[in-house]
Symmetry: C2
Subunit: 668 residues, 2 copies
């Protein structure tokens, strides 16, 4: 071994890189980096196994800074750890185009494993990462070939632990016995409004024990030997996830130490000076990295590189010993699909009995799951209703790491976040089901799927008032439109069995962002088109289902309202009114088509446009304009049998015809 | 005393009313009512103090059925308890227009204290109810005059306790020491997907102890003496909220007892028969209510009536002893505002320095709070940023029941639900602050505010990319539009200090639904209009800020983009282009205006319409139509100083002018 490593020098380097970043930007959060630096430094240099030359190495340890506002900390760590993040990037902290945005963003900065900032999400996503690790291990590891064997380490703040999503995910982690998940709670006793005594006086460790976690404590992170010992203990735990209470001092060394004032604004020139003086750090140059600090990181960089090389060697030998598995591993890593992945997908003839799109979805999912073990998921305790359970598969459990069926419990939000964590493996394809109305419960996680471009598949059934008797509490009105409004989310609301199968095709083929499948509870007839036509139409987002020469009127709908406008179209035709029926399962896919196709489906000259959808009218004006009409529901629905609701809210062919005629009469 | 009460008869009456309701509707949830009936019956007859003749009696005990799917249970209880809910309503369970919808709805059925069904919300709302009780007690009670002194009782399911919102709220309740909150956990060990062992194996009681709750246990709810004793113990607790684990059997007595199959579908004719035979109940008539069952409810009805009369008498004496407080009590009960409530609201002259609307909001709130102690609230740990802290007021705490400042902690979802509970007092006016982006975290609670028509005020600051450096994780893109899409939510995004004050006026005056105030981080100039004009304009939702004769073009914006289009309007005028500037702070208020006013502001003939808003373009087409244009942001934003972002995303007068000219050129 070379020189003894100077940890204190490295820790202070991290601290002042963070301080200088925030000061340079005149924006950011110095408090947490100052407090967490000793812990983070020892974690990075003593435990974390990674190779900065290949940030996507599948068997690296994961590090999640759940308190994303401490971003300056992770940027300092990544810089010292040899990632592609030079001092100029640190100097450009929080500036346009830099790799050092205000909160860490996956895909934007090498070494950032997940986007954090919205509190609770990092920890909950890490639960999904730990699930992914053991699912992959179960699938790929063989005697002598531990292809997957890594830990997921998290630093979380008080704020993270106050969030419900973290509570749900932690309960889930305890239930599943995710022992490779190791979480540090930065117990600095300060939140933005002041002492945590103002709002957060629960016994956190007792709570985590109640979830089935192991708990450890570090009384003072300045005691590096103690930190080291607890890190080793945490790493050694093999039965339960670990929560370590780490007592830190927010704003350590600064005049604002142990106060909320150090949390979210620069220390100021005087504060920086005082802090540097107090910790015996040179005032100049800023962004100072002593050689000793770099040296402190050399061993872990070397060790990581060696581990990576050993792993590559292991995989080479695996290729010989288990060629098929190795080929699958290669395919999963590039999100490749095996030949024939879609061979068992069903098609539906036009005379097929009515089928709910949730059921058609279940059939499609089952057909896919048989060929795609990387497709795994479940429901937030509504599997039977969401049709997300795959017969013949095991359920994921504490002692069943390879189970592809997940019982997420009534924890929609943690389900969404865990799906993100699984997707971030770069290999798995998670899906999760609940009622469309409860997508609201997991919306912050869905937004992160979209922001990170992760291919999570949300299966959202019971998609309108036509769920019937459960009533307004369960009837989604604005949720569908809310998902369409979310950037990066591809929403599909299929109109029949074949559109549903096509929607699943789109979902599986899409690897750069999330998909929401919005599905009926009730049975729907099969559209009178060849399945191939339907598939092609769904891929383009919207297409003509029935037409007339020189249409006077466009009838637009999605999902369960497509058969309705088709009926209206026929009735109008009998009265000599020429209408076109357009099914618009995915607005995002349609908007991505070339202008020609779009104008072909929705000719600019036809301004009599009637949209019909059993949800809020708001949003449809994008296609109906100022001269169109929308038949929708702008209240909250009602509890009654679906047929009564259809009549009550005017979702009848008769009413669609009347509205269509009024539209033409008024404006023609 | 009269005859000994036949509790078992009453319990089975409840059970079979529920069974018959579900069977008649061929829809609903028989399992939970069958299991919970003994507990609910004893609670209603031994502990709950209410007067069915006045369901709004302010000092009644509250009962919240958090597991709203067990609605048949509460309808049976309310029927037997003498509420206005006759057997025909029970026969019409889940039918259009009945008072017995699929899930209990506040305002729809007397005796239903809050809308439940979305799991976790009932329990979290109950936390707000318990807060309201003690705040009102602190405000109104005087020696010898306990005007407010009641309990909030909750029955919650496993599903409720799995939800993050319940976790957040329970932590908050423990922190605040809400000892008048008494929660039963229906420990039936079954969730929809099967045994709770599949997903929920934490130690719930230990968890609640970690929050600072007292915990009690009922090993078998069929042991009525034990239930009675624990009810009394729970009622007697004066320091901590109480969680009672009550072991029940889902689907008790039915062939499906203790299985998930009894949860959510009718028992079926054979199942009903078997259950009635097993529990020795007559098969006919259905909806059978023996006299003995009615008799079992007579004492509690009488006791409740007597308590109500005594309370009315107390209030009469209070009127003499504390006339001013009594007058205030009367006013609060009708949501009346005192004269001069708005006297301290500021106005801003056009030459006033730039001011962020969040700051103007803070000033308005402070001006209002001085006159309106019923206005109470805080922030989810962002008070300094949301400007929600009222100087001079105490903070709500375990020993400070009258504190009007709330430290909700980083618990947005529980904050929203607690606000609902406070608003449901019918007297208090809660507000709660967070960043607009985090409205996603509490959206299910906001939806319930809207569904229940409760006047909760959401203070949502940092309302666009112009929050700057915090970046995409914190920059709301679709949240504003998502709130506009929510039925019953009034959204206001004011454009300057005066619009902000007017928005607060609207919020305070609106008593039948929630309001979202969407506010900037950054400073904005004051619009060149008289404050009165602005107030009148805001009340109408949209109004003309600057105009031209016979405008060629409408420029539409809200909030921080109004000054921008005003600049563009001036620049266009210099080029001889005639544009109108419309500020549209509230789409809901504007849409509620008569067609004449709307056409006056947005003349149908002017189709060149350019909307500018620093959020998603989706939604604006409602006003811009097919021939307009929208300058917005359809990605996720970026981390950078606000001025750089303005330039990057084209939020400059120059670019608005260019887009306006292109619009006219293309289409004129």
């Amino acid at each position: 071994m070379s020189q003894p490593v100077d940890d204190r020098l490295a820790i202070d380097t991290i601290r002042f890189l963070a301080v200088d970043m925030v000061e340079q930007a005149q924006s950011g959060h110095p408090g947490a980096p100052l407090g967490q630096a000793p812990l983070a430094h020892l974690l990075f240099t003593r435990q974390l196994r990674f190779d900065p030359a290949d940030p996507a190495w599948p068997n690296r340890d994961r590090f999640v800074l759940s308190c994303g506002h401490a971003s300056a900390l992770i940027y300092a760590l990544l810089h010292l750890s040899g990632y592609d993040l030079d001092l100029d990037e640190l100097r450009n902290f929080r500036q346009l185009g830099s790799k050092t945005p205000g909160h860490p963003e996956f895909g934007h900065t090498d070494g950032v494993e997940t986007t954090t900032g919205p509190l609770g999400q990092g920890l909950a996503t890490a639960v999904g990462m730990a699930i992914a690790e053991r699912y992959l291990a179960s699938h790929f590891n063989r005697d002598g070939f531990d292809i997957f064997d890594h830990n997921t380490w998290v630093i979380a703040s008080d704020g993270d632990l106050m969030e419900g999503v973290a509570a749900e995910a932690s309960s889930m982690a305890g239930h599943l016995g995710l022992s490779k998940l190791k979480v540090f709670w930065d117990d600095n006793r300060i939140s933005i409004e002041g002492s945590t005594d103002l709002a957060f006086t629960e016994d956190v460790l007792e709570r985590y024990r109640s979830y089935g976690w192991a708990t450890l404590e570090i009384d003072d992170v300045e005691d590096l030997d103690a930190v080291d010992a607890v890190l080793a203990q945490a790493a050694a735990e093999t039965e339960r996830p670990v929560l370590v209470r780490a007592r830190t001092h927010i704003g350590f060394g600064s005049p604002k130490q142990d106060t909320a004032a150090s949390h979210g604004s620069p220390l100021g020139a005087d504060g920086v000076k005082a802090t540097k003086e107090k910790l015996d750090w040179p005032l100049e140059p800023t962004f100072h990295v002593p050689d000793g600090a770099r040296a402190a990181y050399a061993p872990s960089i070397e060790n990581g590189k060696a581990a990576h090389v050993a792993w590559l060697d292991l995989v080479e030998r695996y290729r010989d010993a288990h060629p098929e598995l190795a080929a699958t591993l290669d395919a999963w890593r590039t999100r490749g699909l095996p030949e024939g992945w879609d061979a068992e997908l069903p098609t539906y003839a036009a005379d097929h009995a009515k089928i709910a799109t949730r059921k058609a979805s279940g059939a499609a999912l089952t057909a896919l799951a048989g060929r795609l073990p990387q497709l795994l998921g479940g429901s937030a305790d509504l599997a039977g209703s969401n049709n997300t359970f795959i017969k013949g598969r095991d359920a994921q459990a504490a002692d069943t790491h390879g189970g592809g069926n997940f019982h997420f419990g009534v924890r929609e939000h943690a389900m969404g976040a865990a799906m993100n964590g699984m997707a971030l493996s770069g290999m798995l394809r998670p899906y999760g089901g609940t009622f469309l109305i409860f997508s609201d419960y997991m919306r912050p996680a869905m937004r992160l799927s979209a922001l990170m471009g992760q291919p999570a598949i949300y299966v959202l059934t019971h998609d309108s008032i036509f769920l019937g008797e459960d009533g307004p509490t369960h009837q989604p009105i604005s949720q569908l439109m809310g998902l369409r409004a979310m950037p990066g989310m591809t929403v599909l609301r299929p109109a029949d069995g074949n559109e549903t199968v096509a929607a699943w095709r789109v979902a599986i083929e899409k690897t750069d962002g999330p998909v929401s499948l919005v599905l009926t509870r009730q049975g729907l007839p099969i559209l009178p088109l060849a399945p191939d036509e339907v598939t092609a139409g769904v891929r383009r987002g919207a297409y003509v289902v029935a037409d007339a020469d020189d249409p006077q009127l466009l009838l637009l709908a999605t999902g369960s309202e497509v058969p309705l406008i088709l009926d209206a179209h026929r009735a109008l035709a009998r009265e000599g009114i020429r209408s076109r029926v357009v099914s618009m399962p995915s607005w995002e896919l349609f908007d991505a088509q070339d202008p020609e196709y779009r104008a072909q489906v929705l000719p600019d000259s036809v301004r009599h446009r009637l949209a019909v959808e059993a949800g809020c009218t708001f949003g449809w004006q994008k296609y109906t304009g100022l001269d169109g009409d929308v038949l929708g529901i702008d209240g909250f629905g009602a509890s009654a049998p679906a047929a009564d609701l259809a009549k009550h809210y005017g979702f009848t062919a008769e009413n669609v015809v009347a509205r269509a005629k009024a539209l033409i009469g008024d404006k023609a």
